[in-house]
């Protein structure tokens, strides 16, 4: 701790310096001229000033008053040394009135001087510590505010619903995504039990899930995904996927659910399965056409050759003709089947419609 002694009497300065150095204070500076001392204060930045009350040029009271005017120096405690002449009440009033922390009356006694200085420094230290803590707190507050702002921004801008509930499963946070997904405004849901967000048939399952959780060790829930059906304010049921998390603030446990509406994904998946089914049916129909048409070609080809070889009036002509005609009829059927598969394939490729395979097979 740094101490500045100001007294026009060099002997007093020396005496005080000796007392203080002897007591272990290393940074002790003496100054005889109060005007020069006042200029020195901002640079030396003492933790305590010991000041003579009566000095030529500037009185201790004026010095003190000036010191208290500046915000950078007003916090430095001042102990005034008085000559001991005059009214004690006046001295006390004047010294405290000027903002002094304490005063010592001459003649100086080492023990008293040290006791008063140490007491002033103890308070000075406590004040400095408090100031530091306040500064630190202000910085933490700033960081927390920034962090809170970021969280709000992320939570509000995401299209996912983010719902936070306390240990009793009562909603404490509801973002804009939740408003859009479920149709409830924030004011309508705060404090409500989360049950109403799930379709009736999932509520019991959900309850058991929560009850199975240890309320003190919530790490088991972290990252857990559940798929269920949600229900909106309008009564619309929709598939959802929820990522769960839990954490502890002090002794209180909170749960968060980040919820995604799977309606689109489900529809796309259903369409994909439908299209795959259709595709395999079309492929199979094509293969059947191919396999049937090979023998039909042979039957028809040889029947036609026989017809040409037989005499026109042969009784066999009519029979062979029937074979050829039936082969042709079968050929027409496979041709129709091939046409259907090609027609359906075309619609499927152009995505002009989703083909109902049951209807397609009826054609």
């Amino acid at each position: 701790m740094k101490i500045l002694i100001i007294d026009d009497d060099p002997l007093t300065v020396e005496l005080l310096q000796n007392i203080l150095r002897h007591a272990g204070f290393e940074q002790v500076q003496g100054e005889g001229d109060p005007v020069a001392a006042l200029a020195l204060v901002p640079e030396f930045n003492p933790d305590l000033i010991v000041l003579d009350m009566q000095m030529p040029g500037m009185s201790g009271l004026e010095f003190c008053a000036r010191l208290k005017k500046s915000t950078s120096t007003m916090g430095i405690p001042v102990i005034m040394i008085t000559a001991g002449s005059g009214s004690v009440d006046d001295t006390i009033n004047q010294a405290y009135g000027a903002g002094c922390f304490d005063f010592i009356t001459k003649p100086l006694h080492a023990a008293e001087v040290l006791a008063r200085i140490k007491s002033a420094l103890t308070i000075r230290r406590a004040l400095l510590k408090l100031q530091d803590e306040l500064k630190l707190r202000a910085e933490i507050e700033k960081v927390l505010q920034a962090s809170e702002y970021r969280f709000r921004a992320i939570a509000e801008l995401t299209p996912d619903a983010i719902v936070i509930a306390d240990v009793h499963e009562h909603i404490v946070f509801w973002n804009r995504g939740s408003e859009q997904m479920f149709g409830y405004m924030r004011d309508e849901v705060m404090g409500r039990h989360i049950d109403f967000l799930l379709a009736e048939r999932f509520r019991e399952v959900d309850k058991r899930g929560f009850q199975a959780l240890s309320k003190t060790d919530v790490s088991g829930l972290f990252g857990k995904r559940i798929e269920a059906w949600g229900v909106s304010k309008s009564g619309r049921e929709f598939p959802l996927e929820s990522s769960m998390a839990a954490w502890q603030e002090g002794t209180t446990v909170f749960f968060s659910a980040t919820i995604r509406d799977l309606t689109e994904r489900h529809t796309a998946e259903e369409q994909r399965i439908e299209q795959e089914k259709l595709n395999s049916v079309l492929e199979m129909a094509g293969a059947v056409c191919h396999e049937l048409n090979q023998p039909l070609q042979v039957i028809m080809g040889y029947a036609e050759m026989l017809q040409q070889n037989l005499p026109p009036d042969s009784p066999q002509q009519l029979r062979v003709e029937k074979i050829a005609a039936q082969a042709e009829k079968l050929g027409n059927i496979t041709q129709k089947l091939a046409d259907i598969t090609r027609y359906e394939t075309k619609s499927y490729i152009q995505k002009t419609r989703i083909v109902d395979i049951h209807k397609a097979s009826e054609k």
Binding site: G286, A287, N293, P295, Y302, A327, G331, T341, K346
Partner: protein, 128 residues
């Protein structure tokens, strides 16, 4: 006049024999191959300008075979004869250079007409 020689490429033996008999009866010389690779080997030694190709062949398929034939002999006339062709295959048929395609079962007179038209066309080209 262009020699009346046909190449039939068909992996199914009974269909291959039928086509050979039918065309020979009509007065054509018929060479057959049961795969695309065999057909290409034949075409290295013989100049055959009218061809009937099955699309579904083991190994190289009919579409690819047609592309290869068109590289060797661009003037040649190739017909696709198939049991079934998907939309993709039909598009490929046009692109690979087939003059036409027929879905089995094909009537004898339709095959004869295709062969007759092909040779008439080739003769016209040659007379110019």
């Amino acid at each position: 006049m262009v020699d009346r020689v046909l190449l039939i490429v068909e992996d199914e033996p009974t269909v291959r024999h039928l086509f050979k008999e039918q065309f020979e009866k009509e007065g054509y010389s018929v060479i057959t191959a049961e795969s695309a690779e065999e057909a290409l080997a034949i075409l290295k030694t013989q100049r055959i300008l009218v061809l009937f190709l099955d699309l579904k062949l083991p190994g190289m398929d009919g579409v690819q075979l047609c592309r290869e034939i068109k590289k060797i002999q661009p003037i040649s006339i190739a017909y696709a004869v198939t049991g079934y062709a998907s939309l993709f295959q039909l598009t490929d048929c046009i692109e690979s250079g087939f003059s036409d395609y027929f879905i089995k079962p094909v009537k004898t007179r339709v095959l004869y007409k295709a062969a007759r038209d092909a040779f008439e066309k080739l003769d016209r080209w040659r007379s110019k």
